[in-house]
């Protein structure tokens, strides 16, 4: 089971979290095709990925999680400070 270290609550098991997708900016002025690409065509890289998770059963805060999709190692967890904070590329 994944264990994610919430910036506020410390290490907690994965069932307390929901996956919020890969952290990527949503372009405000885009064509339908570009929107579809953002929403449905995920890069799905093998390796380090910048993801967003929410600690729904705990503090209900969103956080960036840099996770390796091959090893499940979690390299970094930090809170989402602003609504337009999409994290830096992993």
């Amino acid at each position: 089971m994944l264990q994610i270290t919430c910036p506020w609550c410390g290490p907690r098991d994965e069932p307390e979290f929901h996956y919020g997708g890969e952290g990527m900016p949503l372009p405000p002025d885009s064509t339908d095709a570009e929107w579809a690409a953002v929403l449905y065509q995920r890069p799905n890289p093998a390796g380090r990925t910048n993801e967003r998770w929410v600690h729904w059963a705990g503090c209900r805060q969103w956080m960036h999680v840099v996770r390796d999709t091959l090893t499940h190692d979690i390299h970094e967890v930090r809170p989402v400070r602003q609504p337009d904070d999409f994290g830096s590329p992993a």
């Binding site: 609550c9 059963a57 705990g58 503090c59």
Partner: protein
């Protein structure tokens, strides 16, 4: 003996407060030196104050002086720095007061509740079985308060009563106490 009892809480208030100045005003109104830090609770002049989130607290008030309390706290916070919402019906309180309370909880809760990790001023939001709860360590050797939504109360109670009735279901602590 089943040491699981439902505790009446006269009022629960959700307090949202933004900014240092408003937190200081609210702490002063509750007669505490500062608002509790993450996953901690403190006894205030108006009941137990639990940390729920970076800007969110729960005040669980056992009684007295209720009608004026939300307005009093909202005035202390200020009109633009947060809010006070009456959530008295949102959760029921179950007190688990048993010498093996930690082992009973370990049958259904993944959190490490050893006193060295989860001390007397600690609280946490976590899962019992699949039900979200607020877990509050009470003063005393082995006492916990479980604040749970009314609809999964029966589910949580059955989890705990099973572990109370069947000692073999409990998870013994690892290592030396």
């Amino acid at each position: 003996m089943i040491a699981l009892s439902r505790v009446p809480l006269a009022m629960q208030l959700a307090l949202r407060v933004r900014g240092h100045a408003a937190r200081v005003r609210l702490a002063s109104a509750l007669h505490i030196p500062a608002m509790p830090s993450p996953n901690r609770w403190t006894a205030s002049s108006h009941g137990d104050l639990l940390w729920l989130g970076p800007e969110e607290f729960l005040l669980a008030q056992p009684g007295s002086d209720l009608i004026a309390l939300p307005t009093f706290l909202a005035t202390a916070i200020g009109p633009s720095d947060g809010a006070v919402v009456d959530v008295s019906s949102a959760r029921v309180a179950l007190d688990l007061d048993e010498s093996d309370a930690r082992e009973v909880l370990a049958s259904c809760c993944a959190l490490d509740l050893h006193p060295s990790v989860f001390a007397e001023d600690h609280c946490a939001q976590t899962l019992i079985g699949q039900a979200p709860v607020v877990l509050q360590r009470l003063p005393g050797p082995s006492s916990f308060r479980i604040l749970v939504r009314p609809s999964p109360e029966d589910y949580v109670t059955r989890w705990l009563q099973d572990a109370i009735v069947h000692p073999s279901w409990r998870v013994p602590p690892e290592g030396v106490e």
